[in-house]
C-alpha cells in the first residue's frame, strides 16, 4: 500500500534516535555554580585589558577590502559572495567589540550586518552606506569610545539607521523582507 500524502510532500525519512549516557552530568553532579563564582568571572571579563584597536584595524581593513572588491566587480557578479566578504569582518567587529568594552562598535556593526543581510546587491549607494558605517566604527575605535557612547552613540546609530531606511525607500525592490523598525528592538548593552 502506498503512503497517502500530498504530491508536494517530501517522502518520510528514516531516522534512528539514540540517547547517549549523560556522562557529563555524572561527572559534575548538580547544584550549578554559586553567584560568587559567576560574579568573579564577570568581573574578570569586565576588567580584561586587551587593546581592541589592533584587532579592530584588521577587521576594518578587511571590510574596506570587501568594499573595493565589490566596487570593481559588476553588480550581477555573484552578489551574495561580494556581500559575504563585507559581512564576515563586520561580524567579527560585532562579536569582539563588546567583548573588549566597545559596545557601541558592536551595536553599529550589528546594524551594518542587518543592512548587509537584506540588500540584494552591493550597488554604489549601498557601498556608500557601508563606507559611512566603516567611517563611524573607525572613529569610535580611534576615539577610544568605550561603552555605549551615551546620547552621542544613539544619535550616530539613528543617523545610520536613517541612511539605511532612505536606501530602502528609494529602492523598494532591492532588498529582501525587512522589519523597518528594527532599531528600537535592540537592547542597549550594558556599559
Amino acid at each position: 500500500m502506498t503512503e497517502d500524502r500530498h504530491f508536494n510532500q517530501k517522502p518520510r525519512r528514516k531516522a534512528e534516535f539514540t540517547r547517549p549516557p549523560n556522562t557529563l552530568k555524572a561527572k559534575v553532579g548538580s547544584g550549578g555554580l554559586s553567584e560568587e563564582i559567576l560574579n568573579k568571572a564577570q568581573t574578570l571579563l569586565e576588567n580584561n585589558a586587551v587593546d581592541f584597536m589592533p584587532l579592530a584595524e584588521i577587521y576594518l581593513t578587511s571590510v574596506m577590502r570587501g568594499v573595493e572588491v565589490a566596487r570593481e566587480k559588476s553588480e550581477s557578479e555573484n552578489a551574495e559572495m561580494l556581500i559575504a566578504q563585507i559581512t564576515y569582518p563586520t561580524m567579527q567587529l560585532k562579536a569582539n567589540g563588546g567583548m573588549f568594552h566597545y559596545h557601541l562598535v558592536t551595536r553599529t556593526a550589528d546594524k551594518l550586518i542587518q543592512f548587509l543581510e537584506v540588500i540584494e546587491s552591493p550597488d554604489d549607494e549601498a557601498l556608500e552606506i557601508i563606507i559611512a558605517f566603516h567611517t563611524t566604527i573607525r572613529a569610535i575605535v580611534m576615539g577610544r569610545i568605550t561603552g555605549d557612547g551615551g546620547k552621542y552613540g544613539q544619535d550616530l546609530l539613528d543617523a545610520l539607521n536613517e541612511a539605511c531606511l532612505r536606501y530602502f525607500d528609494k529602492h523598494p525592490h532591492k532588498h529582501k523582507d525587512i522589519d523597518f523598525d528594527y532599531i528600537h528592538k535592540i537592547d542597549a548593552p550594558e556599559a
Binding site: 528514516k14 534516535f17 549523560n22 564577570q42
Partner: protein
C-alpha cells in the same frame, strides 16, 4: 553542593587569541579542571582526538577550517573519539538562518558574541542538564534538532537556568500566558470588526493604517 567542574575538560577552538584567553580564564574561574585551546578547526580536531574533552566550545569563522566544518568532523569522522560530545558554537551571527545552519551541522548550543559570564555558564548548564538525544538519518547525524521535554529525561529534576520562557511550568506563568492570548484574540477580533473582515479572512489583505483603533 555545586558543580564539580574540576572533573571535566573543555576544548576551546578560537582563532582570535585574546578571545581564546578570555574564554579560557572564564572557564578556569568556573572551576573547569582542564582547558585546551586550538587556533582553528583543523588543529581543534587534532586536539579533540588527543584529549577527548567533555565539552567543545568553537568559534564559527576560522581559517583554514571553520567551526561548522569542525563540528561535522567531530560528528562524522571515524577518527572522532566521541561523536556525541556537546559542541557550543560561539559567533557574532544571531540571524535565524545562521542559527539553523549551525543546528544543521550538528551544533548542540549557540552562544552569541559578545557574551557575559552568565551567558557562557547558561550554555554549559544547558548541555549538562538537558542533553539532547541524537538522530541519525541519511544526511544528518547530530543532536535532535527538535528540542523536546522528553529528550532531556531530567527535566523534572532540573533546577538550573531556563533557556526560554516556555521552559517555565509554573501555574502563574501559564495564567499570564493565557491572559496574553485572550488579550491578543480580543485585539484581533476588534481589528476584524473594524475592518469588516470575517473570521476566515487573512490580515495581509488589509492595510493597518486603514484601521481606526480609536
Amino acid at each position: 553542593m555545586t558543580y564539580q567542574l574540576h572533573r571535566i575538560s573543555v576544548l576551546i577552538v578560537e582563532d582570535n587569541q585574546p578571545m581564546l584567553e578570555i574564554a579560557k580564564s572564564l572557564l578556569l574561574t568556573f572551576g573547569v579542571g582542564h582547558v585546551v585551546g586550538a587556533q582553528n578547526g583543523e588543529v581543534g580536531f587534532k586536539r579533540f582526538c588527543e584529549h577527548n574533552p567533555d565539552i567543545v566550545i568553537a568559534d564559527w569563522m576560522m581559517k583554514p577550517m571553520d567551526g561548522i566544518s569542525f563540528t561535522r568532523m567531530v560528528r562524522n569522522d571515524p577518527r572522532s573519539p566521541n561523536a556525541y560530545v556537546p559542541i557550543i558554537l560561539m559567533t557574532g551571527f544571531s540571524e535565524r538562518r545562521r542559527v539553523l545552519q549551525a543546528r544543521d551541522a550538528g551544533v548542540t548550543e549557540f552562544l552569541v558574541k559578545p557574551f557575559n559570564a552568565r551567558d557562557l555558564y547558561k550554555r554549559i548548564a544547558q548541555v549538562i542538564e538537558r542533553p539532547r538525544q541524537f538522530v541519525r538519518s541519511e544526511d544528518f547525524f547530530g543532536p535532535d534538532r527538535r528540542r523536546s521535554r522528553e529528550a532531556a529525561g531530567t527535566i523534572s529534576n532540573y533546577v538550573g537556568p531556563f533557556r526560554r520562557e516556555t521552559d517555565n511550568t509554573s501555574p502563574e506563568f501559564f495564567k499570564r500566558l493565557r491572559d496574553q492570548q485572550t488579550e491578543a484574540h480580543e485585539t484581533l477580533r476588534v481589528m476584524r470588526e473594524k475592518s469588516g473582515l470575517s473570521s476566515g479572512d487573512k490580515f495581509n489583505i488589509i492595510n493597518p493604517k486603514d484601521i481606526d483603533f480609536q
